[in-house]
């Protein structure tokens, strides 16, 4: 491939060698390092292909061997350019093409991340956009050093980052650290522990503060469970001092969960007819063009596109995407739900709801699902009961005249 391309760019000649010293001429060419290819014998000599520079070097060798060289055919870029030297439009087009390439090379057309596992590429792209780095901006405005510093400071999980612009691509190489680089400083602001939702307390472990409830108590949402206010008394039982600490406790309660979802009265059903259309999609910047055969009106189509960004070499990305677009014809109609479909939908709602609760750390004790019909549409009610940590820290404002002090001496009542 490389040799072929070299021959095309250098230009090649098909040369007829005439004379008795054909073999000697071929030997001399080989000896002087002149490459010959497609050498075929003919009646009074041979015919071969040689590169244009080699032809000039071969002239004295032909004289030495006593052969005559006749050019039969000229191939390659130099001859093509010479033949088309009078075509002004072609020259202008070529010049415009290179100018366009130069213009495109001044902008950024691709951003690639390497080595990121914890932080997704979408997150990092959004971050870059917020900091003014996006596809289509001038390359000269990008400061890689600043970008590296910002990424390191704003993403604590990134241990090492290297950013560089190569061609029209910004390549950001990331190494994420597995350990947390900074230990968060403990917050010592006085806080109560309050209930995030109503329930019956099942267990209570207080590390700091004064418990106001015990296991078995029913609590309401927002009720203070562990108070931040500690009262210090003397031997006589008189209050010496009141201090506010940051209450800390694990409060587990059995709570009820409820979810209600309505199904639309009619179900929208899409049936694929099997008729397919395939075409080409071309996207230049934000403009997209589809090249498809015309199709009849009133048909619904499901489109699927698969495209790639054009790239010259390894890093010279262009703002052009090409790909295939495939459409499948479908007919859409609406009909009432069947009993099986309602049951299926109810199970799906329940499963998703329970998964959501378990993700939040709820230990499910029991659950059930009900399907209600009001003559017009179905309603799915998913109920569950589970144990969950309901305590959350809520800041308190110390009363006037009292001193808020961060509790050095931990006291649990």
């Amino acid at each position: 491939m490389g040799r072929h391309l070299k021959h095309k760019t250098e230009g090649s000649l098909q040369v007829q060698i005439q004379g008795a010293g054909t073999e000697r001429f071929l030997t001399l060419c080989g000896f002087h390092g002149l490459e010959l290819w497609n050498v075929k014998p003919e009646e009074d000599g041979a015919v071969c292909l040689m590169a244009l520079p080699a032809f000039y070097q071969a002239a004295p060798l032909a004289k030495k061997a006593g052969v005559r060289l006749r050019i039969r055919q000229k191939n390659g870029l130099p001859f093509w350019l010479y033949r088309n030297r009078k075509r002004k439009g072609l020259l202008l087009g070529t010049a415009f093409f290179f100018l366009l390439l130069y213009g495109l090379s001044l902008f950024l057309w691709n951003i690639t991340f390497e080595g990121n596992a914890h932080y997704s590429s979408d997150t990092l792209l959004r971050y870059l956009r917020e900091h003014g780095i996006f596809c289509g901006m001038r390359k000269s405005r990008i400061s890689c050093e600043e970008l590296e510093e910002n990424l390191r400071s704003d993403f604590p999980g990134i241990a090492w980052v290297s950013a560089g612009v190569s061609g029209t691509r910004l390549l950001v190489k990331i190494k994420e650290s597995e350990a947390v680089s900074r230990i968060p400083e403990p917050d010592e602001t006085p806080c109560d522990v309050a209930a995030s939702r109503p329930g019956v307390i099942t267990s209570l472990v207080v590390r700091q503060g004064r418990a106001l409830v015990k296991a078995g108590d029913s609590v309401e949402e927002g009720q203070v469970l562990v108070s931040s206010k500690l009262t210090l008394t003397d031997d006589a039982g008189e209050t010496v001092e009141e201090v506010y600490v940051r209450a800390d406790a694990d409060v587990y309660a059995q709570t009820a969960y409820f979810c209600r979802q309505s199904l639309p009265p009619l179900r929208r059903v899409t049936v694929r007819t099997g008729k397919k259309r395939r075409g080409v999609q071309l996207q230049i910047g934000s403009l997209a063009f589809r090249f498809l055969f015309p199709f009849s009106e009133g048909e619904d189509w499901i489109w699927q596109t698969e495209d790639v960004q054009l790239c010259l070499g390894e890093d010279f990305y262009l703002p052009v995407r090409v790909g295939w677009v495939e459409g499948e014809s479908c007919s859409v109609y609406e009909r009432p739900y069947t009993q099986e479909e309602v049951q299926e939908a109810a199970e799906d709602v329940q499963r998703r709801y329970l998964e959501n609760l378990m993700e939040k750390g709820v230990q499910i004790i029991e659950n059930n699902v009900k399907i209600l019909e009001n003559g017009y549409q179905y309603e799915i009610c998913a109920e569950a009961s589970g144990i969950q940590q309901i305590g959350f820290s809520r800041p308190v404002q110390p009363e006037s005249g009292e001193r808020a002090r961060q509790g050095d001496e931990e006291k649990t009542e």
Partner: protein, 89 residues
């Protein structure tokens, strides 16, 4: 005498003979291609027969519609319908 010395030397040292400078190397692929290294020149060039000069011998390639795909200082490839490749001293 020097050739014998060279042969025994390479045998003693366990060096492959194709490493020796100037020795011709002939590689035949199927019936349609012969690849040759270290050929010093072309003695005769016809459609049915190509004779080449190597350092120690002459190589004769016979067949039909023979042609040289490429020919450089170091190597060459002959293609066509190969009938025989023989060495002549």
């Amino acid at each position: 005498m020097p050739e014998n010395w060279k042969n025994s030397g390479t045998a003693f040292l366990g060096i492959p003979r194709d490493v020796l400078p100037g020795e011709p190397v002939v590689t035949i692929t199927g019936r349609e291609s012969v690849y040759l290294e270290n050929c010093r020149g072309i003695v005769s060039f016809q459609e049915e027969e190509i004779r080449l000069q190597a350092k120690t011998c002459r190589i004769r390639v016979t067949g039909r519609r023979l042609r040289i795909d490429y020919y450089t200082r170091d190597d060459m490839r002959i293609s066509g319908q190969i009938r025989a490749v023989s060495m002549e001293s």
